[in-house]
């Protein structure tokens, strides 16, 4: 606790230092930066206060990984939406709509339609079978060490690529918005996320996420409404004015659309062949279902019922948010592109880069104060998302690799949490370091890569372990590994990395999105190597499916298991499965109820 107090005191000083530095240049811009910095500062103070509060409540691994199972479905829905509405989707999609019109909508739809599938096939089942990480579910009836190791590797790959993209995005965004140097921004983000995760665990991470989701939804609603109000809420006029603005726009993308005579309200050149379209669709849809930081959220609610409700709310919030980004994108076409103040006409881009459509629109609709607010929200968004990722990565290391794979489940809660906190710190340091290393690189492909890995390595083994009796350890490990390897290989050999990053002349793999191939290979691998597994172990694993299905459907022991702990884990004999199965059953059979 003393450490946290020290850190809490040190941070404002550090931030103040950077703020003072930013104010130095002393132009009209610095006043603008100060609004954003002060608002962000308030957010940081409030969230660190929450972390302090959460730290006192984080006493066990259950508190640390799963917020004690005490989050309601509605709160969790907001938190899930918060995890999902990253700065990339807010700024990225609205800017894509701004620059390319209809194409932006295609992406946002893909990102949304994964949610119903998660709900139908994964959410409730996750809650009933798992405790802290998705590896709990996959290893429920399979062999602990290999399956957890495979799941943890899949988790870490997803987390690291997602983190790099977020860190680089944070640095560039904050340099533009706040006038802070790139490294400062990356370091501030890295330090804050480690503080939230290491001290406040899932409780702090969840509340940071909820606050940010509310701020972001409020801000985006305000921008969209003011933009619509500009044409008196007449949609016809709204789109018409936008289309008129394109004709005189200085933006290179707009000029190209006008010159080519393309339809701004129909799909353009973003996706031009069926294989790419389906492949992108698969990655967007099923990647969501394999994101470890999202899957973890299902363990923070008390039962499967609340887990399902949370997906319902999350789908509503995210869908609403994507409709807002669409309006914001067209609003920006209408109000930002005609205004030379927001354009870098010489380069044919938006001032501050092409991701700034929503930010400029915020200024156009709400002035300096609102611009400061939205900038602060964008910073807060990045911070909240990276915290969720860091917690997921740290949990994979401490819960799956350390406690289960290395120590065989014989480890006490205090040690496990300590390992998790140290892992969070290590992940933070790595993220800062990589964030700085990749400053000049094009990292846009990394979010796509994270989604493709999630869809091809994590999702197949998770889905099959729940729904297919025949899955064995061999099948899960080989299938997952094949999915991971093919995804990374295909992305490295594709144009996005081979040509754009390494500077080679031609791509060795013709498609940008590998999901259609890598997912097929992963599923085939799981199937084939499960079928070829004639071992005794495989037989026993298939025999355990029935008991797993009962638990999955009925949720026996789950409600009881998430009640106050009556056990201490240290020195527990026997395997993990028998522990988790036995005690809940014990209480269930004795008719044990909450006092």
């Amino acid at each position: 606790m003393n450490q946290l107090t020290g850190a809490l005191l040190a941070l404002p000083v550090a931030l103040w230092g950077t703020a003072a530095w930013a104010a130095e240049p002393g132009k009209a811009e610095s006043a603008l930066n100060m609004t954003a910095i002060i608002m962000f500062f308030i957010f940081v103070v409030v969230t660190l206060g929450i972390t302090y509060w959460a730290a006192a409540r984080t006493k066990s691994t259950k508190d640390f990984y799963a917020a004690g199972g005490g989050i309601t479905g509605f709160q969790n829905g907001l938190a899930i939406a918060g995890d999902y509405m990253s700065a990339a989707s807010f700024l990225g999609i609205s800017s894509m709509v701004f620059a390319r019109g209809y194409d932006g909508l295609i992406y946002s739809i893909g990102w949304l339609v994964g949610w119903p599938v998660i709900l139908f096939l994964i959410a409730g089942q996750c809650r009933n079978l798992g405790r802290y990480t998705f590896a709990d579910i996959v290893s429920y009836r399979l062999s602990q060490v290999p399956v957890r190791t495979m799941s943890a590797i899949g988790t870490l790959f997803t987390v690291i690529f997602y983190l790099i993209a977020q860190m680089v995005g944070a640095g560039q965004l904050i340099r533009t918005l706040f006038g802070l140097p790139y490294e400062y921004a990356v370091i501030v983000v890295g330090c804050l996320m480690v503080l939230y995760v290491a001290f406040g665990g899932m409780i702090a991470t969840t509340w940071v996420q909820i606050i940010k989701a509310v701020l972001l939804l409020t801000g985006a609603t305000f921008i969209a409404l003011t933009a619509l109000n500009h044409t008196g809420f007449n949609l016809e006029l709204f789109f018409k004015t936008a289309l008129e603005s394109i004709k005189t726009s200085a933006l290179a993308d707009h000029k190209k659309i006008v010159a080519d005579g393309k339809d701004f309200f129909a799909p353009g050149g973003l996706i031009n062949d069926p294989v790419s379209a389906i492949s992108l669709g698969l990655a967007l849809m099923f990647g969501t279902a394999g994101l470890p930081h999202i899957l973890m959220r299902f363990f923070t609610v008390p039962n499967a019922k609340e887990a399902r409700k949370s997906v319902f709310y999350a789908t509503g919030f995210i869908g609403y948010f994507y409709i807002l980004t669409f309006i914001i994108g067209f609003g920006a076409v209408m109000m930002v592109s005609p205004n030379p103040q927001y354009m870098d006409a010489a380069k044919g881009v938006l001032a501050g880069g092409n991701n700034m459509a929503a930010i400029h629109l915020a200024h156009a609709t709400g002035g300096d104060l609102f611009l400061g607010f939205i900038s602060a929200v964008a910073f807060a968004t990045i911070l909240a998302v990276v915290s969720g990722l860091t917690l997921a990565g740290a949990s994979a290391v401490s819960h799956d690799l350390f406690a289960s794979a290395i120590c065989g489940g014989n480890v006490n809660e205090v040690t496990e949490m300590r390992v998790s906190k140290i892992s969070a710190l290590v992940i933070g340091v790595i993220a800062i370091w990589l964030g700085i290393q990749f400053e000049k690189q094009n990292v846009a492909f990394m979010v796509g890569l994270a989604f493709a890995i999630a869809a091809s390595a994590n999702f197949p083994i998770l889905l099959l372990s729940i729904h297919w009796k025949g899955l064995t350890t061999l099948g899960a490990v080989v299938g997952g590994a094949l999915g991971l390897i093919t995804t990374v290989t295909m992305v490295v050999l594709s144009k996005t990395v081979w040509v754009d990053v390494f500077g080679n002349k031609a791509a060795l793999f013709p498609y940008k999105d590998p999901a259609i191939f890598s997912m097929t290979i992963a599923f085939l691998g799981c199937w084939l190597f499960s079928k070829l597994d004639f071992s005794e172990r495989a037989k026993a694993e298939k025999a355990r499916y029935e008991a797993q299905e009962v638990r999955c459907e009925i949720g026996i022991g789950i409600a009881e298991a998430s009640k106050p702990r009556v056990l201490s884990v240290p020195g527990l004999p026997g395997s993990r499965e028998s522990f988790f199965l036995y005690f809940p059953l014990f209480f269930f059979r004795r008719g044990w109820r909450r006092p």
Partner: protein, 107 residues
Amino acid sequence: MSTDSAEKELVKRITANPKYQELVAGRSCTQWVLSVVMLVIYFSFILVVAFAPKSLGTKISPDSIISVGIPFGVSVIVSAFILTGIYVYKANSKYDELVSQIKEDVK
């Protein structure tokens, strides 16, 4: 050892319960049917994007500037939300009722 056999016995009693059969069959049917509905909606959208992008540019009425693609896209988003609503309603009322009955039976 006793844990193991107690667990096996409980599993046996539950799986033998006709209500459990009804639950598993009903729920998995709902799950897969709704998943397929979502996949069909989404991939028909994606395939139209891939094969007939121009058709999405058709105007909703001759004197309108809004293309059919916009309401189509928005309705895919709305349909996703409605499908989750249907499942949550069914699972949290009908199936959860069955679950609690089964729990009562094996007590």
